[in-house]
Amino acid sequence: MLEFDGAVKRFGPLTALDGCSFTARPGRLTGFLGANGAGKTTAMRAVFGLVHLDAGTTRWCGQPISPGDRAAFGYMPEERGLYPRMRVRDQLVYFGRLCGRSATEVGGAVDRWLERLGLADRAEDRVDTLSHGNQQRVQLVAAVVNEPSLLVLDEPFSGLDPIALAAMADLLAEMAAGGATVLFSSHQLDLVEHLCEDVVIIDHGRVVLAGELARLRAALPQRFAEIRFRGRAPAWSDLPGVQLVAVDDGFARLQVEPTGDVAQVVALAQGSAELTSFTYQPPTLSELFRRAVAS
C-alpha cells in the first residue's frame, strides 16, 4: 500500500503540495485526478525521491520509502524519455538491470514484453527509428520490466490512439489483477470512471476527495436522470427539486435533489412526449470532480 501523509512541497513562493494525504491500495487501479498545476506530477515524483518533500512522508507498506523499495517500483513520467540512439532491447535490459535484476532475468522479461506488444522484430533497432506509438510501447515496457509491485504512471493515456489506449487500459488492469498497486493520473475522466476502482482528486496541493469511486458516487444525495424522447420538450425545471443540467433536441439531463420526486419526472415525460429511454443514476465522476474542485 502506498501512503501519502501530510506531504508538503514548496517551490519558492509556490506551494505544489500542501498537506497531501491519501492511500493507493494493492490490487486496484487508483486514478489520480486534478487540474493542471494541482500537484499531481510533484506528488508522483516524490514517490521516487525526484522531489524532496519539505514536510510529511511517503510510505510503502507502512515504512517510509527507501531507495531499496524503489527497485521494485515502476515509473512512467509524463515527459517520455528514452535514449534515442540506443537499441530497443539493450535499453530495456539496461533499465531492468538498474533495478538490480540479473541480465538473464531481465532479458527474458524484455523478450516476453516485446513479443506481447508486437515489437519483437524491432528489438535490435535504434529507438529513434521507431514510430511515436512504438516508442510509447517501449516506454511502457521500461516502466514494467522489473515486474513492479507499485506502478506509477503520469498521464499514460495522453497521445495514444484508441487501439493503444485500449491496450494500455488492459495492461494496467492486468497489473492490478496480479496484485500490483497502480496509480495513474489522467484528464480523461470517462476513461478513469470506466477503469478505476479508486480515485484521488487533488486541488492546489490538497486532496479534496478520495476513496472508492462507487461509494463516492453513492454518497452524494443528488441523482441524475437522463431522458430521451420524441416530441415537444416539457418544462422540466417547473418540477420541485429538479434542475436542468444539459439539454439537446430530444434529450435532457436533470439533477434531482433529495427533495425531488423521480416519479414526477417520469410522469411529466410521458405526459408531454414519447419516452424512448430513461436512466436514473448517481453523479458521474466528472460531476464529482467539478463539485470537489469548486468547493
Binding site: L14, N36, Y83, L98, C99, A142
Partner: protein, 400 residues
C-alpha cells in the same frame, strides 16, 4: 544492488554505446592516422635524402672514396661515388644536379649552390684523413703508431639546458604533456558535458533518476567516458611507440618513467575534476545548443590553466609556478611540468594530489546537488543559484 555495482553498470553502458557510435570510431581512426603520419612521413622524406652523390675527378688518392664512405657512415649519410674523366664532365654533372658535389684533385669542392654543410664536413674530413695518412707514411710513421696518434679523445657532451640541469628533451616532454593533457581533459570532459545535456534534453534522465541516485548516474558517466578516453589514448600512444621504433624517424625525447607515470596520475585527477564540473554545469542546460555556453566559464578556467602551465615551463621554480602547481584547478596541467622540469621536493606533488583529491570529493558533493536540483527542470537554462537551492524556475513549477 550496491552503489559501486550501479556505477559500474552506468559506466559499461557509456563505454558500450559510445564505442558503437560512428563519431567515436572516426575520432579514434583520425587520431591514430594523424599520429602515425607525424611519425612516418618524416621518415619517408628523410629516408630518400640520406643518400648523397659525390663526383670525383682529377688526381685523387686511391683511398679517398673509401674514406668518404667511412666518414659518411659516421653521420648517417650514404655517399655514392661517381668518377668523371674530365673536369668539365664533372662540372656538368654538378650543374645538372646529377651529383651534389664534385671533388676536384682532392683539394677543391664544387657545388651547384650553397654547400651542404654536413656533406662538406664529411668530405673535408676524409680528404684530411687521407692526406695525414700519406704524410705519415712518407715520414716513416707506421699505421699502428698513426692510429694511436689519431685515437680520438672522448669529449662528453653535456646539455646544461635553460633550467636546473634539465635538457631540451625535458622541455619537449613537458610541452607535449601539457598539450596532450589539455586535449584529453577538454575532449573527454566535453563528452561528459554533452552526455548530461543529452540525457536531460531527451528526458530519459527522469526514468533513470527514478531508479538510481543522481550521484551514481554522474559518477558512472564520468567513469565510463574516462576509461574509454584512457583506452583511446593508450592505444594511440602504443601505436606511436611501435611506429617510432619501426621507422626510427623521430628522436624520442628521453622521457623518464617517473614523469610519464605522474602524467597518467594527473590525467586521471584532472579529468575527474573537470568532468565533475562539466557534468554538474551541463545539467543547467536543457538543449544541446546551450551546452557550450553554460560550460563557457569552465572552459575559460581550463584554458587559463593551460596558459599558466605553458608559462611555468620557462620558470618552473618561480613562486607563481609553485602556486599554480598546488591550486587544484591549475595543478593537473602545471604540476606535471614542474615534475618534468625542476624536480620539486617529494612532498610537493603529494600535496597537490591531496588538494586536488579533496576538491574532487567536494565537487562531487556540490556538483551532485546542483545536478539533482537542475536536471529535472526543463525550459530555459537553470540559474546556478536556483539549482543549488533546489527550486529552479522552470516548466515544472508552472505545471505543478
Amino acid at each position: 544492488m550496491t552503489g559501486p555495482r550501479l556505477v559500474g553498470l552506468v559506466a559499461r553502458r557509456e563505454m558500450r554505446e559510445r564505442s558503437r557510435s560512428r563519431a567515436f570510431r572516426i575520432s579514434v581512426i583520425v587520431m591514430i592516422v594523424v599520429v602515425l603520419a607525424v611519425i612516418i612521413v618524416p621518415a619517408l622524406i628523410a629516408g630518400g635524402s640520406k643518400t648523397r652523390d659525390v663526383g670525383i675527378t682529377g688526381a685523387t688518392p686511391a683511398a679517398l672514396p673509401a674514406a668518404v664512405r667511412a666518414q659518411g657512415e659516421v653521420v648517417g649519410i650514404n655517399p655514392r661515388i661517381h668518377r668523371y674523366d674530365s673536369r668539365s664532365a664533372a662540372e656538368r654533372a654538378v650543374r645538372s644536379g646529377d651529383v651534389d658535389v664534385v671533388i676536384v684533385d682532392a683539394r677543391r669542392l664544387e657545388w651547384r649552390g650553397e654547400p651542404d654543410e654536413q656533406l662538406r664536413a664529411v668530405i673535408t674530413g676524409a680528404v684530411q684523413l687521407v692526406a695525414v695518412r700519406e704524410r705519415a707514411a712518407a715520414a716513416g710513421v707506421g699505421a699502428g703508431t698513426l692510429a694511436a696518434i689519431l685515437a680520438p679523445v672522448p669529449v662528453a657532451n653535456v646539455q646544461l639546458g635553460q633550467v636546473l640541469g634539465r635538457s631540451r628533451d625535458d622541455q619537449t616532454v613537458a610541452l607535449v604533456m601539457t598539450i596532450v593533457l589539455l586535449m584529453a581533459i577538454s575532449t573527454y570532459g566535453g563528452l561528459v558535458l554533452t552526455g548530461v545535456v543529452e540525457e536531460k534534453a531527451t528526458r530519459v534522465v527522469e526514468v533513470l533518476l527514478a531508479r538510481i541516485p543522481a550521484r551514481t548516474l554522474l559518477a558512472g558517466k564520468i567513469l565510463g567516458i574516462g576509461l574509454l578516453g584512457f583506452a583511446q589514448l593508450a592505444l594511440t600512444a602504443l601505436l606511436a611507440l611501435v611506429a617510432t621504433a619501426t621507422v626510427n624517424s623521430v628522436d624520442l625525447p628521453a622521457a623518464r618513467g617517473a614523469v610519464l607515470a605522474w602524467a597518467v596520475v594527473w590525467f586521471v585527477l584532472g579529468y575527474s575534476l573537470y568532468a565533475t564540473v562539466f557534468g554538474a554545469i551541463g545539467s543547467l542546460a536543457s538543449r544541446t545548443e546551450d551546452a557550450q555556453s553554460v560550460a563557457g566559464p569552465v572552459t575559460i578556467v581550463l584554458m587559463a590553466s593551460y596558459f599558466a602551465s605553458f608559462a611555468s615551463i620557462g620558470s618552473p621554480t618561480s613562486w607563481w609556478a609553485r602556486l599554480f602547481s598546488y591550486f587544484p584547478a591549475t595543478a593537473p596541467l602545471t604540476m606535471p611540468n614542474r615534475i618534468a622540469m625542476s624536480a620539486p621536493a617529494w612532498w610537493e606533488p603529494l600535496l597537490a594530489v591531496a588538494l586536488t583529491l579533496a576538491s574532487i570529493a567536494a565537487l562531487v558533493r556540490l556538483g551532485g546537488r546542483v545536478y539533482s536540483g537542475a536536471v529535472l527542470h526543463a525550459g530555459p537554462t537553470v540559474k546556478l543559484r536556483a539549482a543549488w537551492r533546489g527550486s529552479p524556475v522552470g516548466l515544472d513549477q508552472a505545471r505543478s
